[in-house]
């Protein structure tokens, strides 16, 4: 009897795992199947034609990359500062420190559309910028901030105490410790957190649809105000609703495949870094 339960549980567990992998793997296969026919050099390098029915997605790629780059440039200094605050300038074990951390865990759960509406009210309307790539960058930065901040915080937490003790023994000031020990050691945390957050941000549609992207016509922005961009996720969203024609199928799936490839690349880049961190923290 006990043996039976043993086998059953093992079967159930491994069964569930297989089901999960099959479902999720199946998704990738479906998308790849439908999207691969559309991928060609011209698809990736030329602009959209006929309202999406033909042509390529170069400007959509450019737009998406511009948005996530801007978001990263905004988030990085802010996240580093917040992590430093929590780990160094405030008492690490203190109430404020813990509260800060919990605050960011909570913020991580805020749906991205809320950030989009915030950006819409403040920048698009109140500051009268209209739709702009910069607003998109700001909004995505806000949605990324918690993830990146937490990743850096956790990395800093994992810095072996012996380094900090040695620095203290050598008489280094806090600032010196930050620059010579903590920051260099945290870079992997910044990198990993950033890559994962960027992967998520690249695929976001809701926050950018009111703030930064349009369906057709934009190329590379030449200013801040009234300078939206084309983006991959919004393109897919509109094609799926407004102009999706069975004949346009390959265009749609090709865009989806490219987007997934972008997201996957960013995530995969994070992997070796995480392996390094994992091994380092088990010194």
């Amino acid at each position: 009897m006990r043996k039976l339960i043993n086998y059953l549980l093992a079967a159930a567990a491994l069964g569930s795992m297989s089901v999960v992998i099959l479902i999720l793997g199946g998704l990738i296969i479906v998308i790849a199947q439908k999207g691969l026919p559309a991928i060609s050099w011209s698809f990736l390098s030329s602009g959209m034609k006929q309202a999406g029915a033909s042509g390529g997605i170069i400007w959509h790629l450019v737009g998406t990359l511009l948005l996530i780059t801007t978001a990263w440039l905004i988030t990085s200094p802010l996240s580093l500062s917040l992590a430093l605050l929590q780990q160094v300038w405030l008492d690490k074990k203190g109430r404020w420190s813990q509260a800060l951390r919990l605050f960011f865990y909570t913020c991580n759960g805020v749906p991205s559309i809320v950030f989009g509406l915030f950006g819409f009210m403040i920048f698009v309307q109140y500051f009268n910028w209209g739709k702009s790539w910069l607003v998109g960058g700001i909004v995505l930065a806000m949605s990324m901030l918690p993830t990146v901040t937490l990743a850096i915080m956790e990395r800093m937490e994992a810095i072996p105490a012996k380094y900090l003790e040695a620095s203290a023994a050598l008489g280094l000031s806090k600032t010196q410790v930050v620059w010579s020990v903590i920051l260099p050691q945290s870079l992997t945390g910044l990198a990993t957190g950033s890559l994962l957050a960027l992967a998520r941000a690249a695929g976001e549609t809701a926050p950018i649809m009111f703030t930064a992207t349009i369906f057709a016509g934009a190329t590379f922005p030449d200013g801040i105000r009234e300078n939206p961009v084309l983006t991959l996720p919004y393109h897919i969203f509109i094609l799926a609703q407004d102009s999706f024609d069975p004949a346009m199928g390959p265009q749609l799936w090709g865009s989806a495949l490219v987007l997934i490839a972008l997201v996957a690349t960013l995530s995969l880049l994070a992997l070796p870094l995480r392996l390094i961190m994992h091994e380092e923290s088990h010194d």
Partner: protein, 290 residues
């Protein structure tokens, strides 16, 4: 200098987040004044007549998320037991990496698959119940369950691994089988972490916009008499997020009351997901500290 800039940037970032909360509260005041409590309890959303009762959307969001959890939790936990207890370390890393890759699939792609595949499966599969179309609360829930799976598996795995090896070895030493160890020692000990996984999965499901928007049907004021009845599941519905992502948000801006009603929905969403995520994070912390 470093200290100064750390504080400066940090306060800037924090100010932005608080400004967000304050802005939504401030912008929603008109509708809260006009409707009072009935904003969340009444089931009538007629924007032309300036009637704003969001009960059906709250119901929609919650129902869709619960359906998602009912599928994702057993399946995800089972898979988590698989990765945490039965896989060798290397394979476990591979499985985790794979799971995270899949967590990154953009919601618009899930929405696409929902429109093109899931919608028809539900429509044809439940034909005996005569659904009006394939876009229903159930369809949205099913789609969400797949989207939430990676979260449940990863967090569940973390929770199970956090149970110390000593306990496991002690159990085995006492003669318990692997299964008994898992069922009677590991799982109970991992309780908090598992709750965290469920709560955080719930929060994720509640906040999902695009995928739900595409397959939920977007029909307002769909609230059953009996909250626990299953009849509404095969009907089209509306969630907080599907309303926010839709046409009304575009046309509401010029009308203060209408716009307040929209930001009010966002505020509700913020509060609910904030609460659920906060609780989940607290549990997660506690389970890791143990």
């Amino acid at each position: 200098m470093t200290r100064f800039f750390s504080w400066l940037f940090s306060l800037l970032a924090l100010a932005a987040f608080f400004a967000l909360l304050l802005l939504f509260v401030w912008q929603s005041l008109p509708v809260l004044r006009a409707e009072g409590g009935s904003y969340v309890t009444e089931n009538r959303w007629f924007f032309r007549q300036h009637q704003f009762g969001a009960a059906a959307m709250i119901y929609g969001s919650v129902v869709v998320s619960i359906i998602a959890l009912m599928i994702a939790v057993p399946l995800g936990l089972g898979a988590a037991i698989g990765t945490a207890e039965y896989l060798p370390a290397r394979l476990r890393w591979v499985a985790k990496a794979f799971m995270e890759l899949l967590a990154g699939i953009p919601s618009v792609v899930y929405g696409l698959l929902g429109i093109l595949l899931l919608r028809n499966w539900v429509y044809d599969g439940f034909v005996a119940f005569e659904p009006l179309s394939g876009d229903t609360l159930l369809t949205a829930g099913l789609l969400l369950s797949i989207m939430v799976l990676p979260t449940i598996v990863t967090l569940g795995d973390d929770a199970l691994r956090a149970v110390s090896a000593k306990q496991r070895h002690a159990a085995r030493g006492l003669g318990l089988t692997h299964a008994e160890t898992i069922l009677f020692i590991t799982l109970p000990q991992a309780g908090k972490g598992l709750w965290a996984a469920i709560l955080l999965g719930f929060g994720r499901a509640m906040g999902e916009t695009i995928a739900v928007f595409l397959v939920v049907g977007r029909q307002d004021n769909q609230l059953p008499e009996n909250l626990f009845s299953l009849s509404m599941l095969l009907e089209a519905g509306q969630t907080l997020t599907s309303k926010l992502g839709g046409a009304e948000t575009n046309i509401a801006y010029g009308d203060p009351l209408h716009w307040a009603a929209i930001t009010g929905l966002a505020l509700l969403l913020l509060l609910i997901t904030g609460l659920v995520t906060w609780l989940g994070s607290v549990f997660r912390r506690r389970s890791q500290d143990a």
